[in-house]
Symmetry: C2
Subunit: 311 residues, 2 copies
């Protein structure tokens, strides 16, 4: 058994997008095992246990990930993750990965795959709401799939938006007002908001939106009116209803599971799609255990790790 | 974060029985979080993911454990387990334990606690069916709670029974026929059988039975007729119905969930009990995630572990 303290360093983003795409396709084919995430509630946060098995990639394991919003004041990340991989022939645990950065990357990759299939344009102006690690992961992954002409970033603290642009090696990236950002034809929302920040009137026809921030009951970023005039795709219907962007509108009776147009996997397989260039599409991402396995599979390549005595 | 390659060595069995008893009591009080085990089916076996949180012990985490019967031919244990512990304040994973031996010990401790409360005698003749690691764990844990006058062991291979007795430091331990073993007034069954090995006519009034072997759908060790004339306690009703000794009789319509007399935790709290000295009692053990956390809590004391860089 080996421990990998920093497995994110060697992950090639273009290759990552392909393996994430393959994992979603296998999900839509019904060829993976992925029970619902299991939540345990702690005092000031929670942790989620995410087991899965992807036979076509020969990979099985469990991600364990916490969410503790108060951790920043304690000098710890809000989200920390470990992935344990088990040999699919013998059940032997053979790898433990520090999966905190991998979690950001695999979520970015899902957004990139969604944008590749659902954006009606190959060349986009990219609006990003939020300026944290997920904002960066989305921009970099999307830039592998589409030509990004410009990036407009909104952050509650404008400095953070500027800093994000400085970190990125992209031609035209700048801070902008929320309404300007939402006027882009590809929009990514990455905040932990519990109120709909994004107003209906800001969203133009033909926009594709990656709604990434909502990943727990009570979280939402978009005015539900946007959902009602959009074609809404999800990563997994059960998880989306429980904790995705659609969870609050569904609980309020404004939206229903039956209104979900399909899954990202079904889009990849061509079973579902954007119907017209002028319609709005939304990808509601909650994060799947199969994404964690797919990125782990390629993260270990070329990594040494630290040998641990087991069994 | 630290890795503990051999945390079982320092576990005191008497202390272990007490912390396992406390965990079961908290379970009966409704003061733990323990979602059902999640099963993933691999090619030649499966693995189970077992998250839990015991606030009174300040411990939360996940055990990941496989079952691969074909592993012996590959030089690997059938069952291998890892436990990951998370800080209950921050969600930080702070310990990874090699939990293979701990799994044996915590199951033995549950049997000892059940025998302490449900055996009508303080001094017992102990019959043990099977001669593997769990047989040994049960005998040693029970010897902490009751005076064990003699131990009779049955194994399909008699040599293994003799070897088990040689390993144990007990006054009177010997191999015996299955019917003789089943005539003891405290009986422990620890085989992976899928047919009822234990015949109804062998079991005397006043016997207490720890039914340990059945831990997956399709497994059973006892003639269902024994269940019908016994008071049957379980560790957890949902798990027992799914995979415990009662799972096959329930599926065959011979037994029902409503016939379960109560849980071990309820027995510890005095809410349920053996009613008469001459009745037969059964403890149907499937193994709970809270047992894994309870033993982890004391296993780490005094252990150094290996420092791993995280987050």
């Amino acid at each position: 058994m080996r421990y990998y303290p920093d497995p994110a360093g060697g992950v090639g983003l273009s290759r990552l997008n392909r393996v994430i795409e393959e994992a979603f396709a296998e999900h839509a084919r019904g060829m993976v095992q992925m029970p619902p995430k299991v939540y345990i509630t702690l005092k000031e946060g929670d942790f989620r246990t995410m087991p899965a098995y992807i036979p076509s990639l020969g990979i099985a394991g469990v991600k364990i990930v916490n969410v503790h919003p108060e951790n920043r004041g304690k000098g710890l990340p809000t989200v920390m993750a470990l992935t344990v991989l088990l040999n699919v022939e013998t059940g032997l645990p053979y790898a433990i990965l520090n999966a905190t950065d991998l979690t950001d990357l695999r979520t970015g990759a899902a957004g990139a795959v969604a944008a590749k299939y659902l954006s009606p344009r190959r060349s986009v102006s990219l609006g990003v709401v939020g300026s944290g690690r997920q904002a960066e992961a989305q921009i970099q992954a999307i830039a592998q799939e589409l030509q990004v002409r410009e990036v407009l970033v909104w952050s509650r603290n404008e400095k953070n938006a500027t800093h994000l642009c400085e970190r990125l090696d992209l031609p035209d990236c700048r801070s902008a007002s929320l309404s300007r950002v939402c006027g882009c034809n590809l929009l990514v929302t990455t905040t932990p908001s519990r109120v709909p920040l994004i107003r209906d009137e800001w969203i133009q026809e033909g926009t594709h939106i990656n709604a990434i921030g909502a990943d727990a009951p009570g979280k939402e970023e978009l005015d539900p009116a946007i959902l009602l005039r959009s074609r809404v795709f999800v990563d997994d219907p059960a998880q989306a209803v429980h904790s995705g962007e659609v969870n609050v509108p569904i609980r309020m009776g404004l939206f229903s599971e039956g209104m979900i147009a399909g899954t990202l996997g079904e889009v990849i397989l061509g079973m579902k799609k954007r119907m017209r260039p002028e319609e709005i599409t939304i990808f509601d991402s909650t994060g799947l255990a199969i994404q964690d396995l797919a990125i782990a599979a390629i993260a270990l390549e070329g990594q040494e790790g630290i040998e641990l005595k087991f069994p």
